[in-house]
Amino acid sequence: MRCKDFEKKVLDFIDDKTNILEKEKIEQHIEECEKCRNLYMDFIFILNMSKKIELPKLSEDYWKSSIKSIFEEKNSIKFLKVAYVAVSFFILFSITLFLMKSNIYFSKENVLINKLDLLNHELPFSEEEIIDNVDYMKEEEIENVLELVFESF
């Protein structure tokens, strides 16, 4: 066996995942090659020592009690979601209400009233009067009023 082949197989050999034939070849190579023997021994040393690193000990009781906080956090997230939806809905509703109120000026009825107001004026209107009256209207409403004004001539 060549050293390169040994390096490829050494991890499986450590895990005892090699077949009998490979195992024999590897064992033979370890006996013959000092460099590979050192590599193998060092790996084993590192792995054995690494496994001695201790974790802080946590009992099953600890985990049983700590699970509550996960459920609580999940519930608080649920509550936050509901609150978020409710607040969003309220804001949306308020905005809609506000827009509806402010749009009263531009409703069909009001446009008609504005048109009548214009017609009740002495004709022809001056340019300034028209501009003053249409200042707060939407583009299409302006067009409607202007149409009406021109019709009245």
């Binding site: 590192i46 020592m49 001695k52 974790l55 802080p56 985990w63 459920f71 956090e73």
Partner: protein, 175 residues
């Protein structure tokens, strides 16, 4: 068994394992506990999508590894800021020579430090293989990499630990 009981059962079985991975990755008890909490919180949110415990454990390991990566990256950023002006500190540490006869505890402490010095990828593979005793296939599935890559990286991590421990005099210098 309802959803909550099922989750509780899984939590009791796997929390300690996830804690083990997180602790070895971040090297701090409280941070590891925070990671465990976050891992299971995320899992609980998606609990209905899981089928079979083995898939759950793969998923949990994956989140734990990713959260540990995130944590280490943030910590390294902080460390970089804190260490401005102390670039030679690591050289100073590595130049310390050890006595021939050092105690197991000291060796373990040095190995711990060297595991910390592995790259993120090497570290997580070393931890999952050595401590969790997962197979290369399981690790490949957790990290979404090829088995060959996992094996090669594990070999590299052992080589790197060996070289660095020899440099520090923790192991005999025969290569």
């Amino acid at each position: 068994m309802n959803e909550r009981e099922n989750f509780e059962d899984c939590y009791i079985k796997l929390a300690n394992k996830i804690y083990g991975v997180a602790y070895k990755m971040v090297n701090n008890h409280q941070d590891a506990l925070d990671i465990v909490q976050e891992v299971f919180l995320r899992a609980y949110k998606n609990w209905n999508n899981f089928k079979g415990l083995s898939k759950i454990s793969t998923y949990l390991y994956r989140i734990a590894v990713n959260l540990s990566y995130d944590f280490l990256r943030k910590k390294n950023k902080l460390r970089k800021v804190e260490n401005i002006g102390f670039e030679n500190w690591s050289n100073l540490v590595s130049s310390v020579k050890f006595e021939d006869c050092i105690k197991d505890e000291e060796i373990i402490e040095e190995i711990k430090k060297e595991i910390d010095n592995l790259t993120e990828k090497q570290k997580v593979i070393f931890i999952l293989k050595t401590y969790e005793e997962l197979t290369y296939e399981e690790i490949a599935s957790i990290l979404r990499k090829r088995v060959g890559t996992i094996k090669a990286t594990y070999f590299q991590s052992l080589q790197k630990l060996r070289e660095n421990l020899k440099k520090k005099g923790v192991m005999k210098n025969e290569m």
